[in-house]
Symmetry: C2
């Protein structure tokens, strides 16, 4: 068989059954192979950043890789921002990048560029297949590499002639490296928790990565109850299980001075799947880290370790017989009056369906969401792990493909939505059960805050460069242009009615939540 078919067959045999694709000429044999390997679901995206963001969403929900198919260096470049987010999320992704035929590269044809350098900037593993006979084995290695704990980008570069040459052989799965558990690190953490110099409240356990699953959160809750340690999660979890019945853990705040308040008094920070907290940006006169100067950092489990096992082992040592503290069920009342970011959050908290998957790129409009949804039925919360905006709609795409029986809610800021808005077309094409809420405040509102925080201040010209109201973007027209039914809410009651309807109906919907403009 041709190299392309060997790759697709191998991917399927290794459990990769979704391919988010924006192909070009170099990928035509890969595309044609989808007819001979029907177990692979090809999902067309109109921009590579949608394909990579969807692969991230798929991988976060299934903890298995999807493939993202891209066209040479420029195609990969378009996909890099969401691969950056996936890298920060520790998501397994198999990035497949078509290239010119091996013998054609020396001609420096117009699309020639340094694919390998671009791939290296986000990938934990990069390989360039040179013969069709290797294509299957290379694909199997890519899948195994992507699953290296906690998960990473594995990029397979496929020259066109490798894909169209006979001699390809499918390969079977390669056993991935297991996530280790270090008994020594568990013992060390136990000593910290029991340490003489540790009054209650002086130890904080920072949870992240796979430490944000329900079993891990329950183990952490037991430890906290038994020892008085405080719990926090990383600021931007890849996937946080939460809601009624799940122990509730606050996220480290975005702004470093607020995070410092949360961590005040912490003399020992125990990391469980998280990295030590840092300020998202530097600001003049502010510290780069929110940790107190006298805080010692201890590692219970790194992002690539078996975090749930480490926590549960530690809980059995430190908190035998102690039960976790579940979040109580509670929803806000449906508000009336003006639609604001706060009242919109209350509506979402009141209506969030059980088992919902929330793709949260609401940015400044999202500050009330954490508390408003804390007691909603159990759900998953996916956040902007790498700070590269334009993640939310693609991530929802992949989550919906991964979990067709679960409702997906994309909470999206207007500025961020415009980077990858064509994800809406894929929502329509695949009739995904995604409800998108656009928080439309007609501004890059975060930057209005950051102008002040960085001391830049700026005048009317600077302010104007952060303003999205000239012209206003009509998100209902944008959505219907791409086949997604849409409506616009200007009061809290309208928003509740529209959100309730959208959640009740299968298929994609978009609601433009018209917030007071931020100027």
């Amino acid at each position: 068989m041709k190299g392309a078919e060997a790759v697709v067959r191998t991917l399927v045999d290794c459990g990769v059954t979704a391919c988010f694709a924006n192909p070009g000429t170099s990928e035509m044999h890969f595309v044609a192979a989808l007819d001979t390997v029907p177990e692979m679901r090809g999902v067309l995206c109109l921009f590579e950043g949608v394909a990579t963001g969807a692969a991230d969403g798929y991988g976060r929900m299934t903890r298995r890789p999807a493939a993202a198919l891209m066209h040479l260096g420029p195609g990969l470049a378009n996909g890099l921002a969401n691969l950056h987010n996936a890298r920060r999320a520790g998501t397994p992704v198999v990035a497949v990048v078509g290239d010119h035929a091996t013998y054609h590269k020396r001609y420096d044809a117009p699309l020639e560029s340094d694919i390998d350098a671009l791939a290296a900037s986000v990938s934990g593993w990069v390989r360039r297949t040179s013969r069709s006979a290797d294509a299957g084995a290379d694909a199997a290695d890519a899948v195994a590499a992507s699953l290296s704990p906690p998960g990473q980008i594995a990029t397979l570069v496929l020259p066109a002639d490798v894909t169209w040459t006979e001699g390809g052989e499918p390969a079977g799965p390669v056993a991935p490296r297991p996530a280790p558990l270090s008994q020594a690190m568990v013992g060390h953490a136990l000593n910290v928790l029991r340490g003489a110099g540790s009054p209650a409240g002086s130890v904080t356990i920072l949870l992240g990565g796979t430490g944000l699953t329900r079993p891990a959160l329950e183990a952490a809750s037991r430890i906290a109850s038994a020892t008085g340690a405080r719990l926090l999660t990383e600021t931007f979890p890849a996937r946080l299980e939460r809601g009624a019945g799940v122990p509730s853990v606050a996220r480290v705040a975005y702004f470093v001075e607020q995070a410092a308040d949360q961590l005040a008094g912490t003399r020992h920070l125990i990391l469980a799947g998280a990295r030590a907290p840092v300020s998202f940006f530097a600001y003049p006169g502010k510290p780069s880290t929110p940790l107190p100067d006298d805080c010692q950092v201890h590692l219970l489990a790194g992002p690539g370790d078996d975090v749930p096992d480490a926590l549960s082992t530690l809980a059995d040592l430190a908190a035998l017989g102690t039960a976790p503290v579940p979040q109580q069920a509670a929803r806000p009342a449906l508000p009336d009056g003006d639609l604001t970011a706060e009242s919109a959050a209350a509506v979402i908290g009141a209506l969030l369906p059980e088992r919902a998957i929330v793709s949260d790129e609401a940015n400044t409009s999202g500050v009330w969401l954490e508390s408003a949804t804390a007691g909603a039925p159990p759900h998953d919360w996916l956040t902007l792990t790498g700070g590269a905006i334009g993640q939310g709609l693609p991530l929802a795409t992949g989550a919906a493909i991964a979990c067709p029986d679960r409702p997906v809610l994309a909470l999206e800021a207007d500025g961020s939505a415009m980077y990858t808005a064509s994800a809406l077309w894929t929502h329509a094409r695949e009739q995904l059960d995604v409800t998108t809420v656009i928080f439309s405040n007609r501004s890059y509102a975060i930057l209005g805050i950051e102008l002040m925080r960085t001391g830049a201040a700026g005048g009317p010209t600077a302010r104007d460069l952060l303003d999205l109201s000239r012209p206003d973007i009509d998100f209902t027209a944008l959505a219907t242009a791409m086949g997604v039914p849409a409506s616009r809410a200007v009061t809290a009651v309208e928003f509740a009615a529209q959100l309730g309807r959208a959640l009740a109906e299968p298929g994609p919907h978009l609601i433009e939540a018209a917030l007071p403009p931020r100027r």
Copy 2:
């Protein structure tokens, strides 16, 4: 003054007066400096690929750089595809990339990535400013580097603390390296043209880069008339001056077998600003280059040389007293009947305004444009130099900012339009005189052809992955959502009426040319 102000002041003093911007927190001091340096025009773009494509369009028209302001590695990544096209076009661009503060980088904050590797993939010059005292001088060097003939990407990485620290000093312009003229190469070309083994028609002069300006084309035309040499231009010119009164030169065809037909019999190829032709892609059993096996390639002037001077010097030696052959004025009749790619081209040829700037990303729908517009009033034609689709609407943005007194016509394929559609919002915000025509055939039609040409064939699944009709995209709704008045034409008469009206009215317009679907 702060480093940021020194950079902006220096850019202006060096002739850079437009900045296409998609800033973030790290760039707030640069943005604030726009209030103190009002000569710099900040143009907000909703996606970095719009900013870089606009800088490319601006640079192609003015032959001076614009700045493109981007936010850390992910922002640069989003801008890379159109920087790739700009690199292939030889356009001067100053890419300014904000980075974390120098002392914050070691914390590996979420947005940290390898900016330098990304920048190197498209830039001829990369520098990272380390002190505010150097910021002005570095900016001046960046401008000079961008103007290194024929023009290149110069990337200046600005850490946030460099921008906010006092001690910045503006710098004056650095003299750019002049484009050389090689008398020896002119003499060699003359010998080839006069060579004994060169019957008429056996010499082809391939024009490219700055060899596509009117004076260069006129010199080439004189040489051709006097010597019998044939003329061709590179397949994808950055900017081709053409129309009535300008010598008309055919472009080398896209498909290699058609290009081989054009070049059949060529025993000597003289390069004047162009690179030797290569196939855009490799195909099984087809050659990588269209040149005959016995063809010798000679260099009159490389892309970085003074191509017009070389051609005019050669013309004075080889064609003294010979006049150029101007294209005669001629326009197609306005067609009626169905709207097809062919009748749409006739309408465009009939109505193209004098001094129009055409941003051509019509792809398969554009095959009739070259002949239909050949005799239209003089105009400039800008093409997809690097093959990274999503160039057309951004390029038109920058061309319109560069030349506010000229009409801009963006001819855009539906598939390509969706990569950077938010350029339309900038068209509306800046009230640019850009008329966009979307050739909507609801397909990645080129890939339908390439499935066959690569021998991939494919079945219904493959075909479905190239289909844009599920759902149809409503480009009129998409445009009005972003503030651009829009209409839809389904007959040739409707298209002519709508195009005439759009060209007559100032400001942006969009026409969806509903072509027969390509399935």
